[in-house]
Symmetry: C2
Subunit: 307 residues, 2 copies
C-alpha cells in the first residue's frame, strides 16, 4: 500500500549537490539550503524565515482531488516548514500554473482553500504569478519571523536528548495529507517554553525525517514501537514509520526539558497530542527500533520521496 | 509573427480578483499584490521586497532551449522585478519540477545557469524544492532590500511626467528573452539620483506594461514612435510595441528630473541606453501614439500574456 522508496540518490543526491554548490555568501544568511526554511538575520532580535514548496498534479495530489483542499494544502505545507523552525508565519507568494480546462469557478475554489487556510493562520498573500499549464502546479514561498533564541535547526540534536512527536502518524495517504492542520501554535507553545535542540516536520515519513536530524546532528537514535503514536487510519507499522505527509513535528530536547514536558503532558497542561518516542544515542546516523517483542532492529533511511 | 493577444479577461481578470480577495491585513505590508514585487517594512530605513515568477516549459521557453539559458532566465526575471521596484536583490528560493527524462548532466546545466546569473548579481540561493514533473517548471521567489525613499511603484506617475525606457525594444522572441541582462545596476543608479515617480519592467510588451502604470496611476500617456528605441532584432513596429519579455525598465519622472537625465545622456554621463519616449497626460488610462507621419493613434492595452 505505502509507496516506500529507498533513499534515492536522485533527490537526496541533488539536495547535497545544491547545498555544496549554492553555498550562501552573505553574512546575514544564518542558514541557507538544507533545513525546513532558510534563516536570515534582519535585526538583532528578529530573523526572517523563508521556504518554498512546489505541489504538482499527479505527484502531491490527484487530478480528481478537491480543489479547495489542494489550495489549502499548498499553504499548509509551507506553514508546517515555518513551524518546524520555531517561527511565526507571516507572508506568502503564490505562483500557480492553471490548466486550460479550468473554469473560473475552479480557480475560485482553489483560491478559497488558499484564502481560508492563510486566513486561519493570519498569513498575508502578498504576491505571486499566474500562468497556464498542462497540469496544475502550485508553488508557495512563505516568509516568517523567528526570535533568534527560538530557532530550531535539524543539526542541534544532542546525545541523551529525548525525541518527541506531535499528533499520530501513518495513514495520511487516505486523505489526511490534504486536510492536515499545521502545528504552528504547537511549535510556538514549545519554543517559547523549552529549549528545543532540533526539530523537523514529518513530510517524508518518521524514519526518513528523523534520519535527517541524525545526519545533520551527527548522532544516532533509538525509537520504541510501543511509544509511537499511530493514526487510526494507519494500516500497518510500515505506514506509521515510512508514510510521508503526516506534517507532524518531530523534535529533541534535553532530559531536563523532556521531564518538564512529560510532567505537563501528565497534568494535561499540554492539550495537543504529544508523545515521547525515543532517545538520541552516540551512533552516527544509526537509527534503531525496539519493536513490540523488545527486539532491536536497524532501520534504513527510507521513506516517501516526491521524486 | 508576434503572439499578440487581446487583454484577456482571464489573466487580468484573475489578478484583479486576487488583488481584491487577498488584500493584505498586516500593517507592515506597504504593498501587496499588484506591483512588480511586494513591499514589507522591516525597519525604519529598510524595506523587504519579494516577488515570485513561474516559468513553464512550452510557455516561457521551448523544450529544446538551452538548459543553461533557461536557468539563467529564471533568476533574471525575478531580478528584473526587484529592479523595477528600485531595490537591491539579495536572496532567492528556487523550486523546480524536473522531467524524468533529465540526466544528472541536464540538471547540472540548468543549475549552472541559475548559479552563474545569481552569482553575477550577488544573489544567495537560500533554499527551494525539487520534484519530478512531466514538463520542466521553475519557480523563483526572490527577496531584495530597498530604501523607503527609493521605492518605485506603478501608481506614482503624475501628469506632466516624462516617460523613459532603458535599452531597445522588440525582437526578444528571437532568443534575447533567454539571455537578457536585468537592469539592476541601472535601477540603482537612477533611484539613487532621481525621484522616479513610477516604474515597471517590460515583461508583457511596452504598451501593456505602460498601460499598467496608467491604470494604477489613473493617468494617460502619449508616446512618440520616432523616439522609441528599436532592437535590431525587431521586425516591425508591432513587435516593438507589443512583444513581451524585453525586460527593460519603463519609468516616469518629473520634468525637472527628466531634464537632468537628458543632460546626463547628452554628456554621456549615463552610459547605458536610456531614451525619452513620451509624456504622461491627463486622460485616464488612455494611451496615444504619435506615429512617424505625426498621426495620432489610440493604442489598446494588449500585449504578450503568459496565459
Amino acid at each position: 500500500m505505502v509507496k516506500v522508496s529507498k533513499t534515492k540518490i536522485s533527490e537526496l543526491g541533488l539536495i547535497d549537490y545544491f547545498s555544496k554548490n549554492l553555498r550562501s555568501k552573505s553574512p546575514s544568511v544564518v542558514r541557507g539550503i538544507g533545513d525546513d526554511a532558510a534563516v536570515i538575520k534582519i535585526s538583532k532580535d528578529k530573523y526572517l524565515l523563508s521556504t518554498s514548496d512546489m505541489l504538482i498534479e499527479g505527484r502531491h495530489f490527484k487530478k480528481t482531488d478537491n480543489l479547495y483542499d489542494i489550495g489549502s494544502k499548498a499553504i499548509a505545507c509551507s506553514l508546517s516548514d515555518i513551524a518546524a523552525m520555531g517561527g511565526e508565519p507571516k507572508f506568502a507568494l503564490i505562483s500557480v500554473g492553471l490548466p486550460k480546462r479550468y473554469k473560473l469557478k475552479d480557480v475560485k475554489e482553489l483560491f478559497s482553500g488558499i484564502k481560508k487556510t492563510a486566513g486561519r493562520f493570519s498569513i498575508d498573500i502578498i504576491g505571486g504569478d499566474t500562468n497556464q499549464s498542462d497540469k496544475l502546479v502550485l508553488d508557495v514561498a512563505m516568509m516568517g519571523i523567528v526570535k533568534p533564541k527560538n530557532i530550531t535547526l535539524r543539526e542541534g540534536a544532542k546525545v541523551g536528548d529525548y525525541i518527541f512527536v506531535t499528533g499520530a502518524l501513518g495513514g495520511s495517504i487516505y486523505g489526511q495529507h490534504l486536510r492536515f492542520l499545521p502545528r504552528v501554535k504547537e511549535s510556538l507553545y514549545l519554543t517559547n517554553r523549552f529549549k528545543l535542540n532540533s526539530m523537523i516536520d514529518i513530510s517524508d515519513g518518521l524514519v526518513l525525517d528523523l534520519w535527517r536530524i541524525l545526519k545533520s546532528s551527527r548522532v544516532g537514535a533509538v525509537i520504541f514501537e510501543s511509544l509511537i503514536p499511530k493514526s487510526k487510519d494507519a494500516k500497518s507499522l510500515e505506514e506509521v514509520l515510512y508514510m510521508g505527509e503526516d506534517f507532524e513535528l518531530l523534535f529533541t530536547v534535553s532530559k531536563k526539558d523532556a521531564e518538564k514536558i512529560l510532567d505537563k503532558i501528565r497534568k494535561k497542561e499540554i492539550r495537543f497530542p504529544l508523545s515521547f518516542i525515543g532517545k538520541i544515542i552516540n551512533k552516527k546516523q544509526q537509527l534503531w527500533l525496539v519493536d513490540k517483542n523488545i527486539r532491536l532492529k536497524r532501520l534504513k533511511p527510507q521513506g516517501y520521496l516526491h521524486f
